[in-house]
Symmetry: D2
Subunit: 282 residues, 4 copies
């Protein structure tokens, strides 16, 4: 069922819901899902509606035009998306396959509603798996002494494929700041710890050294500061003294892939609204 | 902060949200929380609004009067409650103290927003604990050969205290059908299993015999059919072969009291809408 | 690191641990993992040791011979396995790919220590995915009017591949009793509910109708009675009124594949000891 | 059932289990629970046995004497405790009652096997609740300008009551270093975050600012470095954008009291072995 998604963030005040609901009702819009949130700390209001496309008397362009005056009146950050327009996603991976294989399988079995434009990797290991899915695979090695050419090529490929979302599926390289800012809130990373604990490299080793009883994973938007961007989703799994670092890595893989898949899904469904360094996830 | 809660269930159609939002906006109502749900299977729509009382130009009676025509237009089941009117709760318990102690402590530390009118028990064991909290304690023994007099007395006490909610905090007796139907959707029970598994007596023994790897608890409204009423909340905890039935009982106590406290809280905050044998919990 | 696994179940009495530990120490056995359990209800004792193969002065056959008198003395059910001998596994699937893809990926990335001899399916849908992994795929259609020939063929294939474990990865067909009893405690099924709730067909529909707040999956050994065999592993995930049956199915897939992968792993590592209708999982 | 608990940590080598098992078997010791752990990173071995007291031909003193040569041979850190000798516990609290009330109720209903010698608080708020349980309450105010006298008094009371365990049940004051080192691995704290995230004050505010999707609590031994001691137990609970800091505090209370109760229980049952900054929890 094709729907339009109206996603709004604006300063809170009386009458927003009424105005928007009236607008939709006046055009006979059939709302299949509605979510609101008033953030008391910031004084902002967030709203997401999902509306059956076939219930409206016009298409998405007219809908945008009709809605624009309301958006202006309430100083809204807003967007309307169309589920018939699948988002183009570029996946980036390194050598470890679990997150990539998981996303590819979900996409292959129609669980993830997107187009996967290509996979970019700094290694060639996962080519066959990716190509079996009929997806182009680009091997862009990263020279540790001079990373710039590789990232220029990554940037070119991302642009060429008109990516709307970039997913770092355990890519293991830090993106350069200009790429982060150009694709702000569009690059999704999975970090293999329960952030803000254990930023940076080898988080399972850090976790083992600290003797924690739960390990986790965090899906977040990439910003220029390492592992510090807005968090979309997190989860944890219990470990004990009897689990070696290898065991933690193994348990962690399952958490990582689940958390990344959930986070990406929320993003693809336009459920994530970023405000400052926090997210509203409807 | 005093709020009014407008809770609605009605057949779904276009324009309900707009109508209600308009109504609230036209009176300058400041909505602090709003939740909607369209149930595709039944074709019903459910809605809950929390509105700051001081944002409206009139009191709850006028609010009800003003809203009544809308309710009629859309054939709504509806109610408006006032957080300044705490619900009167009667707690019923037997010998085990964990659920009762938990609820009393939450109430005592202002976590549960209600009035606890009295505690009724078929045993005298918990009197001192209850009376320390300044709450009347009624010992109503149940004669296994002739339970009717006891339940008549229970019924009388519930009426005398004008109870709006009755909580069976491990009461261990089956209420007679007339009491169940008189207080439909107002009697809350905690069953010590993950229903519908292990209905009836000694669920931890049943769970141990079946060799399950998780045990649970279920908070539900009491209906005439044993342990079959609408479920409000459930949770589970992991067990293993090394856990004896006594261990299960101990783990289970923690799940029971958490699940009951959450379920009761949802009810007190008018978050639970019953439809058939299912609940919407906003 | 190659290890031998000594797995024992016997009537409990004083001195078992001492006898076994002495035996291992007298041969200089380096124990990397040891687990015990005394079951008070049944009076049985369960034990599992993992011993470095290179710490012993002889091979597995001599180890078995040396140990046999102790086993006889204590009337033990016992086995010694060798991690160098990977278990041969036959996977069975129907049309849904999530469990099969998950197991294949874990095997492909060396997370599951076994040999996958072949995949048998009553449909042809998953052939390409399986064959990409270099694993033979047998399409054995099941005629609903006459299932016997199909199961005869399944039985023949299982025998031909000398399967030590058969995994029903959402196979969706009920195995005939003779196959169940011939491979007792060797056929592992994933049922898509938190058993004993919702035995049989369409458990997510059953769960939705009952209005439960958690759905789950159960990995168990197959016995002649449907969905009633010894449980190896279970887990659950939270759902709410806003989740449709389709959402439940989607959430459930993640639980199913995790629970099945964990259950199979325990089995492959000789961690599961069956006693009556219950399991000890070390 | 009275048991002795033999708890051992020593450098790992072949023959420890055999020696200890033999020793116990030679005296006809009935082992009700046994746990082992070999830590590969440190090369240490950890073991805990629970033995029925009535199965041995002598008392605890003779048991210790008989075992001492083995302990010496293997350079063991070891202790033997007797469940008939309940540990003396001093509880410390501030104004918040949830952890204290929870521990008192568990003790009162015989779930925590210890003696509660007294409660020490820097406020007088919880006196009545404590005294209802028949436990002495000491109000020791802490002067923020000069904390030394208060901690001298705390130290005196702890000594006077011959405390074996001190529990900081949301005490909200930092103990002086000399008290920490004098009672090393005997002072148990509950920190209201998932350490190592959010050390120090107002962790729920820190968590809210960071936008995490799970909040937690950590039970740990107190060391001189703030919130950095060996972790005994941790757990988390899911939060979302719709939860205010007040909601987090409320959810957190339930996690805190569960985690503290579990951690204390493990300690009282001699299940926690500290090695460096990590714990083995059998």
């Amino acid at each position: 069922m094709r729907t339009f998604r109206l996603v709004i963030a604006c300063p809170d005040r009386v009458g927003i819901v009424a105005k928007v609901s009236n607008f939709l009702a006046s055009h006979n819009g059939w709302i299949t899902e509605a979510s609101h949130h008033s953030d008391n700390l910031s004084g902002w209001f967030f709203m997401r509606h999902e509306i059956r496309a076939d219930s409206l008397p016009f298409g998405i362009e007219a809908l945008r035009e009709e809605f624009a005056p309301i958006a202006q009146e309430f100083s809204m950050n807003w967007r309307i998306t169309d589920t018939a327009q699948k988002k183009r996603v570029v996946l980036m991976a390194s050598r470890e396959s679990h997150c990539l294989a998981d996303l590819l399988h979900r996409w292959h079995s129609d669980e993830l509603d997107c187009e996967i434009s290509c996979v970019i990797s700094n290694h060639n290991d996962l080519r066959s798996m990716v190509e079996w899915h009929g997806i182009p695979y680009y091997h862009v090695p990263v020279d540790p002494q001079n990373k710039q050419p590789a990232f220029a090529e990554v940037s070119r490929l991302v642009k060429q494929h008109e990516a709307e979302v970039v997913v770092l599926a355990r890519y293991m390289q830090i993106l350069p700041p200009d790429l982060c800012s150009e694709y702000a809130h569009k690059v999704i990373n999975i970090h293999h710890s329960f952030l803000p604990s254990f930023v940076g490299a080898k988080p399972y080793h850090q976790a083992s050294m600290r003797g924690v009883k739960l390990i986790g994973a965090t899906c977040h938007y990439v910003t220029e500061e390492l592992d510090a961007g807005p968090i979309i989703e997190q989860d944890v799994v219990r470990v004990s003294h009897s689990d070696s670092i290898e065991d933690m890595v193994r348990f962690g893989r399952d958490v990582e892939k689940m958390v990344l898949a959930r986070g990406l899904r929320y993003h693809l469904e336009d459920r994530v609204l970023v405000h400052g360094n926090k997210t509203v996830v409807f």
